[in-house]
């Protein structure tokens, strides 16, 4: 068995000025081919206007076991949301 083509993560920007979103992954020998393949695999129905490809091996991810310490602290900080503040109706839209 010969070596497998590396894995690429595919990010696509949709029509309406949104940011690129992760769509999935695919194998390709190099970045150019990854873009060409991503076009065929992930934009067959007008899903995108721009493609980013990143070699999966180049991504550093947060560790699942660190999920608690990483993300729990923001749970208690309800004052970061606008709905925390009671503004009287008399003030009007804010």
């Amino acid at each position: 068995m010969t070596a497998e083509w590396p894995l690429w993560e595919i990010f696509i920007r949709g029509q309406h000025g949104m940011s690129h979103r992760h769509m999935g992954s695919l194998h390709a020998p190099d970045a150019e081919t990854a873009i060409r393949n991503a076009r065929d695999v992930y934009t067959r129905r007008n899903e995108g206007v721009s493609i980013w490809v990143v070699e999966a091996a180049a991504i550093t991810a947060s560790s699942p076991s660190a999920k608690g310490p990483m993300f729990d602290p923001s749970e208690s900080k309800v004052y970061r949301h606008p709905s925390f503040y009671d503004i009287p109706d008399d003030v009007g839209a804010m």
């Binding site: 497998e4 999935g24 695919l26 081919t33 695999v41 067959r44 699942p64």
Partner: protein, 330 residues
């Protein structure tokens, strides 16, 4: 389904008291409807069963291109040809999404391909039946994709994140497949006597193989019980088969075609149809390699794999050379 008779641990659902603390925490997450992601801790049996199931599903998408590919050059109009090409291209895409989902569990796509080619992994029994006439393209879309949708829609809520996400994408596209199949059936059913006869013949040949797609009754299966506890199987085979029949019979009536089952009748009490079981001996023959097209399908996949070797190697060598040149230029 595209995944049939997937073996789980074979021990039935593990009791809560017998679980290790990790296993218990894992089961709690699943029961709470949380998604399991690739790097999360998971029991070895969960990983193994999912690789089997997603792998079999992926292989089915890829092998499923063959019976339809047979008709691309023979489609009756240019429009039908373009539609069929788009559908077969979708199937390739579905295979890719699923291989990628399986790869997150620590198996490579090449390994899965080799396991398919040497018989260690299977694909759905349905693709071992031949597509003899153009009406079969209608029957395959309407019945085979219809049966697949029955299974895939609930799997969008499956516990393994990458599998659920692949399913969401696939379901969006699968609906086009079923509708284009029904559209072919409608055109033929409203056509000449010969075309109507062709449509009826396709329904006759694909009805029971479609019912077999759900697999034999698994109400007593220890494998299914564990898979359901893990939420990688969402309904029993009998539930899905019943749902499929209830949905499809009125559609056949609309087409003016006859479902090839004399015992078919509406059962008011259960609010569904009573229907005849397919020939399960035939099913076991087909999944053990003795269906009408098993040898052809595997030969076609093996040829594609072998003939494509120089392309895979060549492009990799080219990419490496290009990288070396870029490094030298820096």
């Amino acid at each position: 389904m595209y995944a049939q008779m997937v073996k789980s641990t074979g021990k039935g659902v593990i009791l809560r008291e017998e679980m290790s603390p990790e296993e218990r925490a894992f089961q709690d997450r699943i029961d709470a409807g949380e998604k399991i992601e690739p790097k999360d801790w998971m029991p070895a049996g969960y990983r193994k069963t999912l690789i089997r199931q997603i792998g079999q599903h992926a292989h089915s998408e890829i092998v499923g291109q063959l019976p339809e590919g047979n008709w691309i050059t023979r489609a009756p109009t240019l429009e039908r040809k373009a539609i069929l090409l788009a559908k077969v291209q979708d199937e390739a895409g579905h295979g890719l999404y699923l291989y990628c989902a399986a790869e997150t569990l620590g198996i490579s796509r090449d390994e899965m391909t080799e396991m398919l080619l040497d018989g260690r992994m299977k694909y759905s029994s349905i693709f071992n039946y031949p597509t003899l006439t153009w009406a079969d393209m209608g029957a395959v879309g309407w019945l085979v994709d219809g049966a697949a949708i029955m299974n895939q829609v609930p799997l969008q809520r499956t516990s393994f994140g990458p599998y659920a996400r692949a399913m969401i994408r696939i379901c969006k596209e699968e609906s086009f497949h079923q509708r284009q199949g029904f559209d072919i059936m409608m055109t033929m059913a409203r056509g000449t006597d010969a075309q109507r006869a062709m449509a009826q013949d396709a329904l006759n040949r694909f009805w029971y193989p479609s019912l077999m797609m759900f697999g034999p009754s698994d109400k007593d299966s220890v494998h299914s019980a564990q898979s359901m506890a893990w939420r990688i199987k969402m309904n029993t085979n009998d539930e899905l088969r019943q749902k499929f029949v209830d949905q499809t019979v009125p559609q056949a009536e609309y087409l003016g075609l006859t479902v090839p089952d004399d015992s078919l009748s509406w059962n008011e009490d259960k609010g569904g149809y009573d229907f005849a079981e397919p020939d399960w001996d035939e099913f076991f023959e087909v999944i053990s390699g003795n269906g009408p097209c098993n040898a052809d399908r595997l030969a076609a996949r093996t040829k594609a794999w072998d003939d494509g070797a120089w392309v895979r190697e060549g492009l990799l060598a080219h990419a490496e050379k290009k990288r070396a040149r870029e490094r030298a230029a820096q």
